[in-house]
Amino acid sequence: MKKDESSKFFNRELSWIEFNKRVLDEAFRDGYPLLERFKFLCITSSNFDEFFMVRVASVKRAILKDIEYSCPSKISAENLLEKIAKRTHELVQEQYDFLGNKLLPSLAKEGIKFCTTKNLEDTDISYIKSLFQSEVFSVMTPMKAETSKSALSFVNLQLYVAFWLRDGEGETHLAVAPIPSSLNRFYELPSDEGVKRLILLEDIIKMCGNQLFPGYEILEDCAFRVTKDMDLSVDEDDDKDFLRAMREVLIHREKSFPIRLEINKDSKSIREKLVELLEISQQAVYDIDGILDLKSLFSLSFFPGYPNLKLSQWSPCQPRDLMDEPDIFKAVKEKDILLHHPYEKFDPVIEMVQKAASDPSVIAIKMTLYRTSGDSPIVNALLKAALNKKEVTVLVELKARFDEGQNIVWAQKLEEVGANVIYGVAELKVHCKFFMVIRREEDKVRRYLHLGTGNYNEKTAEIYGDLALLTSRDDMTYEACLFFNAITGYSTVPNLSLLTMAPTLLKARLLSMIEREIDIVKNGGTAEIIAKSNSISDPEIIKAFYKASNAGVKIKLNIRGVCMLVPGVKGLSENIEVISIVGRFLEHSRIYYFRNNGKEEMFLASADLMTRNLEKRVELMFKVIDRDHCERIKKILQIYFADTLHAHKLLKNGLYERKKFKVNIASQEELYKEAKAYAKNFTSHKGELRVRKKKS
């Protein structure tokens, strides 16, 4: 391995952009229903939003503050920023070309039509004016934006309409009006049956702009939005009042520096003025020929009706391990349960929390919450449990990015009803998914444990591919207890064997298991590693994989997003194959499999193979003990590698290519079909009771 170190790694940000390219490519997929393709355009935009305010912000901050941007690919921050801009401009161009030239015209043909200010009829105009008066005008807050200070207080990702005004004395001014987020992004215009005519809120505002600025003449107008640095960290030393410290971060975010300006191509003057006020470089300006902020149009793809424009619904099935015993506690008491979402329902998990809340034999409930839904049934059940005098301990990760505000609200609610709320761990984000119910049963105290790869969020559980394990095994649940005591501050970090915790041991354990495969293959045994993760960016793990590849260990990686590992290079990684699956469900499960000379070991985890996860977060990796479950997960891993529709193969130049085969195999569809086949014989108790009788 004499090669230059830098060529052994792809840059993380550039690799991420290629991931978003794969998402965008899903929109271009011929024969795919139109609204589905529109959805992927929205996701591409939403992804870019987060990427800019976190990742690009960190690169830019490195330049501004003159700190080193450390990347094993040894690229400089300036050079990187240029490459990011170049590639993003290309992709955005592709995205909007497709939207304007292909997708919107096709949608119009199907009866969903966006109207612009230019192609309106007189009746529409009077309708719009009255709509503006009745619904919009009162919530508008137009303001002048003539200093850098006022420009820098533009709200992150907020869509604005800018107006180029002239006063009575002939002076020009810039004024902006934020588009109220309390209103719909688009309105329906009266039209014939079977046709939807839509108009965007910003167009309504533009048309009625003169009402906002009486005494001024509107010369030009256009919509824009600014992306700002949101990667601010909280003052970890403020242990006294972490809630307050978090709130301060949320306020400070409003004052951070701009990273990107997206602006419609309608006004040169406004563009010039904004660039000047924001002090933003030309490469960070995205001139958009089309609808800005596609994320807020996401709801369009859920319009009722239009079955021909959508994929058929795959509703989650009854989990195969809960076929015989639908009572979740009884089932887990008998055997371990493996859940595969969203193919299988998430309901049993919610049911478990709800039942526990009112079950008299339940003594304690312990849980970590990272991201959960707005009106979460899980949080509601926890509230109920605390009211029922159960010992409820919840570790709430306030630092879960962009969910902070929401998390603060319900964390306080829980505290008010007597739950023991712990606001995370200093310096670390608690990212593991942990839920435990302790019941005092007739024969003994039994602990019921749920460990998963995905969040306790019933909404994302319908679109994220995740695995979870339910168990009442004494050894594993005891270790889980010790782990939870450690992260809630009641105990020091314990030694565990079935569970492995980051940041203490997870990385070392993974490295030693990779090392073990190397030893095995050197001694003529059978070695193989299969890993599924959202991203891989930890240099030590990557180097260990290279070493294993050189020793002859076969390595298959299924990495949805960022992959800094360079596969298939002779003398470096010829035994490593990397694929990425992008489909209707977001691949989110983390699976680590080691052949171990026949004594196979299978693990599930909350952690990706990123330095961030392995060193800066509290994560859990847990061993799958049940042999049937190991086989089932192995099969899942194999299905992905057999995929010929949604799998992309990573090439040594950092680009991805779709596999081309005659037979079409879509992994997610295969998994759904299988779940459905298992659930076929399941009858719910609603219709009939299944009475158990002695067999004659």
Partner: protein, 519 residues
Amino acid sequence: MKKKANIISAVIDIGSSAIRMLIAEESEDPTMKWRPIDSFEKKVELGRDVFHDQEISREGMLESLKILTDFRDILKTWKISPEATQVIGTSALREAHNKDVFIDRVFLRTGFKVRVIEGAEANQLTYTAVQAAMKESWPRFNQANSVIVEVSGGSSEIMLLHRGSVVVSHTFRMGTVRIEQQLKSLPGSVDVVCGIIHDNVEATLDMYEHEYPFKNAHFMVALGGELRSLASKIGERRKSLWEITAKQFRDFRQEVRSSTPQEIAAKFLFSITDAESLNALLTVYSGIFERTTAKTILIPDVSIRDGVLLSLGGRGKVARRKFRNQVIASAKSLGKKYYYDASHSSHVAKMSKLFFDKLKKSHALEERHRVLLEVAAILHDVGTFINESAHHKHSYYIVRNSELFGLNQDDIDVVSHVVRYHRKALPVSSHTEFHSLDWQTRMIIMKLAAILRIADAIDSSHTQRVKVEKASLSGELFAIQCEGKVDLSLEKVSLENKGDLFEEVYGLNISISSGSNRF
């Protein structure tokens, strides 16, 4: 029928570097194991205060109170009251001059009653825990010769077992916290400190070698948080314990010696402080390991807290019989150390037990006291090692200052005084040690000493020529009948001398007769 829920108990252990709590449930299966439900550990450096200033600092006190209050709140979930919680304090608390203040403040604040555990009792609790753990995963252990070692914050415990019974049991003042302090206070390299520790350990072990040769030990069981965490990194998991092979242990020790603490901390994910004292710690374990013929070091997941739980009442006769055997074995081992007259001792012990049983109605003592009497009978003459003259006082001193495995401080008080009063003067007001005991204890001592005195009188020849056939109580007379036709004149004189206490305590006259004729 609805079954009664299992008992759930909690043990809190106030150690020299942390306060720990174990909540466990009495298990269904009769192997006497408690099933852990939850466990907690919070660092508080009491040892650092005590081993340096002989006192628990204000901060240490406040921190401990905070932790104990938290623990009390956790116990509420399980409906375990502070009174029902076993709270023990080990070496740091034992040595703290202000321990009474500490115990009082803990009680006032939390309701916990802290019991300070002496070295020997700590050993016994540890042994009980190890034995139960090994039974499960290493059944051969209970018949084997082995050594049990625990290096904790303030002290090291070492026990040598012959065929499963403890024959040597010691606590010496060498622990991780003390080592850390030495490393800080002694200028110079770690090697120098390790050298000092090495010499110290070796000298101590040489002394123990006299009592039982280490090479006979084929197994080594080690406890202690540091070693367990090491085992999870370099060892392997076997059932419910960790195993480190000789090679793994030696290789690791070599690596520690040739690397900096920083390197070790990074490679094995230790904290820097742990890595710094690792070398010294390994010196202790290694000193012991290399003397044995063990091939591996076994590290079960147990601690003194499990021992406390297992020693809680109601665990059946098996445990008690085991307890007796252990205590007797260690008493004999102590006797051997002082070249005791084994035949005389066991003869006297046998008679004492017989008399104890026959007098049950008169003394109303418990089974436990019978064991204490037996121990006193075994050890009553060990003082002759120093001098025949006033040997009862020497015996008293030896028993008081030796570690008798399985006996707590109260037991030692009883045994040492029974030994003290096995001959010569009876308690008088100038015997302050005796009078500092409560009256119940004093009565127990008198009742046991009275029996020991007559048993000793009967073998006053130290030849065991007089064998008691039976003893019986009728009215005011305690009649002892001997086997065969023997001349009992010497014994009678002796009885007259030493029966005084008996007559006083029990209000009985003694008669002794041989098989056929009555003299």
